[in-house]
Symmetry: C2
Subunit: 236 residues, 2 copies
């Protein structure tokens, strides 16, 4: 038992340092923008030498990739939790809960939001297939749950709204269709539209464009949300 506990200790220290590197990187990004994520700056902040980080990440790009995956996971966890917590509510209330959690997470973690939805970190080259495709997809799947909850009444019989499965990425559908068998192509389209709709106000706010125009971005968001659930044909 002594052996396992001592190697366990080493592993724990290792995991803690790994986490501290990532935490420091995000803090640097928060205060200095995406280009503040440099191995030397992280090391400086942690009181190490820059190359000590090579014991934890093979390369700077590997660190950034890990960061992106972590951030996606944190966002997905936050919104999934809000969705689960509101399981007993009406669809309209659940959609509002999800959207508010999305916005709250983004405002609390603006550097994370920028990292995953904004410009790539300078000099960063994502691995083939994107930085964290599965984690990224989790958010999309979560939004599909909103469209599924809104129900088929929310999908308008609009001219030009003739979606079919070919309109969507097979990787997305592979995750979404088993989870929501009732969802139609129009439902998936609705999910993406809701995503874009909410993304806009949040992105403008995170990037400071909304705050330059209004002192009440939260009132604006809640009102837009009320309009959104109404346009989905859902009551209060």
């Amino acid at each position: 038992m002594a052996a396992t506990s001592s190697t366990g200790r080493r592993e724990r220290l290792r995991a803690e340092t790994t986490a501290e590197i990532k935490r420091t990187a995000l803090e640097l990004m928060r205060s200095g923008g995406p280009d503040a994520i440099t191995l030397r700056a992280i090391a400086r902040e942690m009181g190490m030498t820059a190359n000590a980080i090579y014991g934890y990440f093979a390369t700077r790009d590997d660190l950034v990739t890990a960061l992106i995956a972590d951030v996606y996971t944190a966002l997905a966890d936050a919104v999934d939790a809000a969705w689960a917590d509101s399981a007993a509510d009406t669809p309209a209330a659940r959609i509002r809960a999800w959207a508010c959690a999305f916005r709250a997470w983004a405002l609390a973690n603006p550097e994370g939001f920028r990292l995953i939805y904004g410009d790539p970190v300078p000099g960063y080259r994502a691995p083939d297939g994107g930085a964290a495709p599965d984690a990224a997809r989790r958010v999309c799947v979560g939004i599909a749950a909103l469209a599924d909850a809104a129900g088929p009444g929310a999908e308008p019989a609009e001219e030009g709204a003739d979606f079919d499965w070919d309109d969507f990425d097979p990787g997305l559908l592979a995750k979404v269709r088993p989870a929501f068998p009732a969802l139609t192509p129009a439902g998936v389209a609705l999910a993406l539209r809701i995503w874009g709709h909410l993304h806009g106000l949040v992105a403008l706010e995170v990037y400071g464009h909304l705050g330059a125009q209004t002192a009440s971005p939260d009132k604006l968001f809640r009102l837009e949300l009320a309009q959104l659930v109404r346009s989905l044909g859902l009551a209060g």
Copy 2:
């Protein structure tokens, strides 16, 4: 006349070189991301030495500021033109025309869109008051025109939708109220909401997040637009 024509020639060459520097900077950003805007890279591309650029811009930040102002102006010109061209149409058609022009400009100039709505260029420090506040505001004023055209029927009597003038930036109101005397605080809020709504789908598309999920972002956008004008209480 010889004198004016020769100094005119010099001025023309100067203006041309200035324009070429900016054009080259945007091309570099298009192919290499925001961090590709470096004086040395621009000079290399133009076959000059890096310090030759100091004859045109006192500093790299001055160049970036000029770039941002130019890009805002180009965007505002594009959407204003679409608005003016549709003057004879119904409000719904005009709003669709404006939104499509916004999206078309963003897709045609993704590097410009990123420059003004995304992360700041690495190392760039904007002058006090922002890079180009007036040019940035022009887009907001344009959106106020949409809300004005939609009319008071589009402003919902929602609970919690009690906006007044204090909710908005005085600088914005100073531009908007004289131009649209009939606009109420709820109308300004509507303008910002429309902005956020459209911004979301366009930003996701410009940053490649939408394209990873669907092959038909334009169909999605047109459908969302149809829903938007419907939710404003406007017919076809």
